[in-house]
Symmetry: C2
Subunit: 107 residues, 2 copies
Amino acid sequence: MARASTTSDAFNAVAEPRRRAILSFLALQERPVGDIVAALRIEQPSVSKHLRVLLDVGLVDVRRDGRRMLYRINAETIKSLHEWTGTFERYWQHQLNRVKERAEGQT
Amino acid sequence: MARASTTSDAFNAVAEPRRRAILSFLALQERPVGDIVAALRIEQPSVSKHLRVLLDVGLVDVRRDGRRMLYRINAETIKSLHEWTGTFERYWQHQLNRVKERAEGQT
DNA sequence: TTGGCATATTCTTATATAGGAATATATTCT
DNA sequence: AGAATATATTCCTATATAAGAATATGCCAA
């Protein structure tokens, strides 16, 4: 079987570097497709396809403005990713503490 | 062109649901491969292959214990994912504030 | 050494892309 | 209506899997 569908969930969607770049760009503010094309230098059809994936998994929202489509990030969905990685938080804190303790022991 | 390689970075590695399940299981404590096979009911070769990917991107570490291999999560790498999603944190806080303000306005 | 347990790797196959090219759709302006 | 602008979709292709089956490798015990 092949890999899971990118449209199946947010984790798959952000696995693609260009999609992460688009999200980071949109984090600054709401933007029309053309701005993304210009800023990231990705072909317009490619940008539209990536936006479609991001939209399907709920990582962005859109609204029409004349003939332009304004995209913006949907923080709630990004938050769900953040929360999953956050479940491991106490482990890196442990590791950090161990490093600290070793450092302090040397003084 | 096809999708990026799963071994290229941690984002791709965690895009696979079974690999996330393995990481969550390992979060509890260091475990031999056999425990993962039993707990998650995934074929042993499949588990080994997933662990290989996780190891390649640095999401887990291993050490040998007799004929068993003990895997554990590498929190540092998971932290890097957490930090990326964290760059959007202020946006979901904004959204939350807006929801709050609306709710308060109704009282 | 031989047997056996634990894990890893190889090979094959079905499938899901991601990019490029070409085209379609939607909307505004004249 | 017809042209121009902005964005989306379709078609095609090369590629990277992920699972399954079979096999290889590493290590311990008798």
